[in-house]
Amino acid sequence: MANRVSRRQFMTRSGLALGGAIIAPQVLAACGGGGGDEAATKGVYFENWPEYIDTASDGSVYGPGTTLALFTKETGIPIKYVQTLNDNNEFFAKIQPLLSAGKTIGPNVVAPTYWMAARLLDLKWLDKLPLSKIPNAKNLVSGLQKPPSDPTGDYSLPWQAGTTGIAYNVKATGGKELRSIQDLWDPALKGKVTVVTEMRDTIGLIAMSLGIDISTANTLAQYQPAYDELKKQVDSGQIKQFTGNEYVGPLEDGSTAACIAWSGDVLGMKNPDVRYVVPESGGTLWFDTMTIPKGAPNVDDVAKWMDFVYDPVNAARITAAVRFMSPVQGVQEVLRSKGGEDAVLAENPLLFPDDATKARLHTFANLSDAEEQKMDEAFSKISGA
């Protein structure tokens, strides 16, 4: 498991690699075929991120004992599972022409990140979940119920979650433990700090350090102090680079002393000098969702699937494999009861943060199109694009 590519890692790398190839999204989508017919008669068709579910020993997601196999065995519903979601924006570019033209896409469950789910919801490209047929939805952890991205909680159920905080190499900081965003601006760390290219994570953390409540603030004007701070730190050279997952290497070798980082990446690092903390002023909580694209067939089958993975026993199996925070209540207990390596995982604070840490985690407010555009553009300006 140590060498596995985390889901975020995959996202950033392939996003960049494929980015150059995407010139005419319409053309690409046209190549994707009419869609819809494959899952039309019966069953679930789930498009998810790579390496985001448990596999059998041969690496197959359908192998004996896997969640997918058990689901079909238990319910008799066939499920098709593809790992083609590499990048939220790329995914959006792919489905935009179809959904905007009132057509359906192939899968009947997709896994956009919460803010992309919010965008899809805003564009009215999602169908309501049949929550009455998903009794296990009650197991959803309290912190993720009715999030800003889905205020009624009717359109999405979280798949997996993670936090964004500060990671630092204690050797490179000269033995200093970091606790806040202000610690990143220490002149001693000049040129050894990186931030991430995800606007909501970087701006969100800085905004919280300036006392802005990110779960309610939803205009560029409200976030302006955070942008000013970021620009100041970029211009002065305090911040070295904007990165995707590539901060991992430099952080481990110490050429980056501290950075804004994703918990999942830090969980994968072996170096004991690398530490992760949710800043005192607050960290962001992100999550990928399960949503039903507009007009998708077999909604009842989808409901069975969602109900299945919201059973803590099944959810625990997935958590043990992918090592992200589970949105399902009771997973920690299931893991503890299994003993061995799973029991060790159950005590990992990056997977199961304590209540004090949980209290500091916030999810970014829902942004209107116009504000999101303004904030994206302002962020790009500072990062040089």
């Binding site: 970029v234 199109d369 500072i382 990062s383 040089g384 694009a385």
Partner: protein, 274 residues
């Protein structure tokens, strides 16, 4: 006509149609983000291209130009050495030039981030230079970006120069020596002019992709070294502002075409075709 038609069809399909799509997109506008743009003779994308992204344009051409010159300075002697001294190892040596390029462009570039890392071997040596302080660094500087561009595209310089040198009859340098030329003079008056088509082709093959590149500055540069490709990528994929991205691409294309025309005028490749 009949003979021309495959070529004409090819041009239409793979050149004219994409360019027209790009032109159309660049003159489109959208009332709202995430709604497919509609054609509207909207020139504002072009004014924005010039007013907002000058630094990125300047950096793109500055970095690409410097990388091209470096590629000539490094690639020419190497190609010359292989062409004249390679003997029976010529093909092997040219193969070795190409081999690194079988590896993904992205992976090669990322590899340079650890080579140029502040804790890496190069920076240690670099800091020994008298004008470099102990906090000197290579990664996240313009020179790292230029170095990355040079490295990533240098084989496109070496190969055409090698081909043009290969075609030269080196008895011509004997003829020049016979007529009183020193080795250097013979090179300057005979070999260099005859290899100019290779230098010209190589310069285009390096400069054009380098000017539009965004991978090198993403990994090896910083927020202060971003190039126009960064903006295009951001506009296309992040902002989903296809009209703006298309307009930037058009401007980039027109500027590059103009520069290439001026360059070919200066280098006057006509008559060199032997």
């Amino acid at each position: 006509m009949g003979m021309l038609s495959p070529g004409v069809i090819w041009l239409l399909l793979f050149f004219l149609v994409p360019v027209l799509i790009l032109v159309k997109a660049s003159l489109s506008s959208t009332p709202r983000r995430f709604i497919p743009p509609t054609f509207s003779w909207d020139w504002s994308n072009y004014t924005a291209a010039f007013s907002q992204y000058q630094p990125q344009f300047v950096r793109s051409f500055g970095y690409a130009g410097t990388a091209t010159i470096l590629a000539i300075l490094i690639g020419y002697p190497l190609a010359y050495w292989i062409a004249t001294q390679g003997g029976r190892f010529k093909n092997l040596l040219i193969g070795l030039v190409v081999v690194p390029f079988f590896i993904s462009y992205l992976i090669r570039t990322i590899a340079w981030t650890s080579i140029l890392s502040d804790n890496g071997p190069f920076v240690g040596l670099y800091r020994l230079l008298p004008w470099v302080g102990s906090d000197g660094r290579l990664l996240a500087t313009p020179w790292a970006v230029i170095g990355g561009l040079t490295y990533n595209f240098i084989s496109f310089m070496i190969l055409p120069i090698y081909v043009s040198l290969e075609k030269i009859d080196f008895r011509l340098t004997e003829a020049a020596a016979d007529l009183g030329s020193t080795a250097w003079h013979a090179f300057r008056k005979v070999v260099l002019p005859l290899s100019m088509p290779g230098v010209f082709a190589g310069s285009l093959l390096v400069f054009i992709p380098a000017a539009g590149d965004y991978i090198n500055t993403y990994y090896l540069g910083s927020a202060k070294t971003t190039m126009i490709g960064t903006v295009v990528q951001d506009q296309f994929l992040k902002q989903q502002d296809y009209p703006q991205a298309a307009a930037l691409s058009m401007v980039l294309m027109v500027i590059i075409t103009t520069m290439v025309l001026i360059y070919s005028k200066f280098l006057g490749t006509e008559g060199l075709a032997v």
